[in-house]
């Protein structure tokens, strides 16, 4: 009897604590979200009524060579950015973990990219990478490493790497800070015990640190994937999707369709197109985390 009330009480508390989230998302997110899905199934020009057309927008996108380029670019941009952020973020967290002296100051500095307005970051990187006036090319020429400037934003492959660089620069501190925060919840006893067993730093990382924080790593990666996929400013400001369509991604493409060309329905479909894939990723992470728990 007592057990039953306990379980009931837990359920009640569970629902009570989740209620604010549910209410908030229900009131402010549900309608926009559902309307976005509906509009992606319509022929809708801004200002005109929407006509339901079923999956025609999606079919049109799949048939369009442009959209395939954009989808490919988005994948390259997102995966490239996330992988590099993971590596640098982990390096930053490991390097700072258990450092006492100067820690606060160094962390403050390392967080800077994160607090500078994105617009400014994008403009700064655009300028740094400018063919003629960019600091990078000017310095490379001054030290004699190259004779004429590198085409950072002009060469189609380099341009993608360049926008990824700016995205990574802005985003890695969040990875580092989150990983570091997670590392600090790992009890010191585990490390002490491993040290007794004679484990080296590398072994400690693989056996203790990584398994303890992998939940946070998975979540941070997932959240950042979503943000990166929707990143508009960096690409729009640095290259406007150029040269040609070499850095055109979902966000810049749906802006071109939805805002500039007023094709709201098609723009909705274009940005919904990545949804199933990311939804799968979410389901995978959710399952993984629950399996870990049990």
């Amino acid at each position: 009897m007592n057990v039953l009330t306990d379980r009931h009480r837990e359920r009640l508390l569970g629902y009570a604590l989740i209620a604010p989230v549910a209410m908030f998302l229900g009131a402010l997110v549900a309608y926009p979200f559902l309307s976005a899905i509906y509009l992606s199934l319509t022929e809708k020009t801004v200002g005109y009524p929407a006509h339901f057309v079923g999956l025609r927008n999606y079919e049109a996108l799949l048939e369009s060579g442009r959209f395939r380029i954009v989808a490919w670019n988005s994948a390259a941009f997102t995966v490239g950015s996330i992988v590099v952020k993971l590596v640098i973020g982990m390096a930053m967290a490991l390097a700072l973990h258990n450092v006492v002296r100067g820690n606060q100051f160094i962390r403050g500095i390392l967080l800077l990219p994160w607090v500078i307005p994105t617009v400014v970051i994008a403009l700064t990187w655009k300028w740094l990478m400018d063919l003629f006036r960019g600091l990078i090319n000017v310095a490379l020429i001054d030290v004699g490493a190259v004779r004429s400037g590198v085409h950072w934003l002009g060469d189609p492959t380099l341009a993608m790497a360049s926008v990824i660089t700016a995205n990574v620069w802005r985003g890695f501190p969040f990875f580092g800070v989150s990983f570091l925060a997670a590392m600090q919840t790992v009890p010191q006893e585990l490390y002490d015990a491993a040290a007794v067993d004679g484990a080296g730093s590398w072994e400690k990382f693989w056996r203790i640190t990584l398994p303890s924080i992998k939940g946070v790593v998975a979540v941070v990666t997932l959240l950042s994937t979503i943000v990166t996929l929707n990143d508009f400013n960096i690409v729009y400001i640095m290259t406007r999707g150029g040269p040609g369509a070499a850095t055109h991604i979902f966000a810049t493409y749906s802006y071109e369709l939805g805002i500039m060309s007023q094709r709201w329905g098609l723009a909705m479909a274009a940005s919904m197109a990545s949804l199933p894939l990311v939804a799968l990723l979410i389901v995978a992470v959710v399952r993984y985390l629950h399996r870990e728990e049990e």
């Binding site: 009480r9 837990e10 359920r11 508390l13 569970g14 604590l17 989740i18 604010p20 989230v21 549910a22 908030f24 998302l25 402010l28 309608y31 926009p32 976005a36 390096a91 930053m92 490991l94 390097a95 160094i106 403050g108 500095i109 967080l111 800077l112 990219p113 607090v115 500078i116 307005p117 994105t118 617009v119 400014v120 403009l123 700064t124 300028w127 740094l128 006036r133 600091l135 620069w169 800070v177 989150s178 925060a181 997670a182 600090q184 919840t185 009890p187 946070v216 979540v219 941070v220 997932l222 959240l223 508009f232 709201w264 940005s271 939804a279 979410i282 959710v286 985390l289 629950h290 870990e292």
Partner: protein, 273 residues
């Protein structure tokens, strides 16, 4: 051990260098004259050195007002999101009730809709509520993308805290809620701080909603204000960089200040753990 320390500092030095170069460029540019910038004169070090750009911010633009508006909006929406998200995350990780797994996934899926397309329906919702053109609109709007984020990030942190600690408190006669406030939250303090910082940064940087939902000139936020330094054919580089440098300062100060609590949360954990 020595080698490890060396490697650690080498990595730090490298990362610091990567962070430093663009930062330096922003700060250096903010002390250059328009002429120095256009002519690529004194590229590396601003010579002569001018503070005109900073003076301009306060005398000719409404920079102080933008900072005030952004600070109010970012702090309020961060606190709101943290409060809602913490409760939600605790519920989703620590309490078992039917439907929680599905709900966890739904929370995250709502995070998927690009704000670039959400803004019109959201704007119409606020018009329907009769609540536009106020910083309060933004304070309510920002949690639409912050709450799913906080919830999920904190779920990750709550999971990494051993259940045994909480169970010990329960055995000692604490209620669930007390156990959460006294045991789990202090241990998750670094996570709360990370989540809070991220929320703050996202709100501090948010441009689209601020552009659309706010019509009044005196309620403009920093990113919208900054965008006015770049007008079609022209970038007012000096003023833009000065504004960026100055706007980043308070955030860093707040972070260094809050950092104390991060350490505090740790010691609390060490004692109990």
């Amino acid at each position: 051990m020595r080698g490890a320390t060396l490697a650690r500092w080498a990595v730090l030095a490298l990362i610091l260098a990567i962070v430093f170069v663009p930062m330096y460029w922003i700060v250096a540019t903010s002390f250059k004259t328009g002429r120095q910038i256009l002519l690529s004169e004194s590229v590396y070090v601003p010579r002569p050195f001018t503070v005109d750009n900073y003076v301009y911010l306060f005398e000719e633009s409404r920079f102080a007002l933008w900072i005030r508006n952004s600070a109010i909006t970012a702090i309020a929406s961060t606190l709101l999101s943290l409060a809602i998200g913490t409760a939600g995350a605790y519920s989703l990780t620590r309490l078992s009730f039917p439907g929680r797994r599905t709900f966890g996934a739904i929370v995250l899926i709502t995070y998927l809709v690009p704000p670039g397309l959400m803004f019109i329906p959201l704007y119409r919702t606020f018009i329907g509520l009769g609540y536009t053109n106020s910083l309060g609109t933004l304070i309510l709007a920002y949690p639409t993308f912050l709450v799913p984020f906080v919830t999920w990030l904190l779920m990750g942190f709550f999971r990494s805290i051993p259940r045994e600690l909480e169970e010990a408190a329960l055995v000692d006669g604490a209620t669930r809620l007390q156990a959460m406030v006294r045991v789990v939250l202090p241990l998750a303090a670094p996570g709360l701080l990370a989540a809070g910082l991220f929320c703050f940064t996202l709100s501090w940087n948010e441009f689209l909603y601020a552009l659309i939902f706010i019509a009044d000139d005196s309620l403009k936020t920093l990113p919208v204000g900054l965008s006015e330094f770049v007008v079609s054919d022209f970038a007012f580089w000096g003023q833009l960089m000065a504004a960026a440098a100055l706007a980043s300062l308070p955030v860093i100060v707040v972070y260094i200040y809050l950092h104390k609590y991060m350490v505090q949360g740790l010691t609390a954990g060490a004692v109990k753990g």
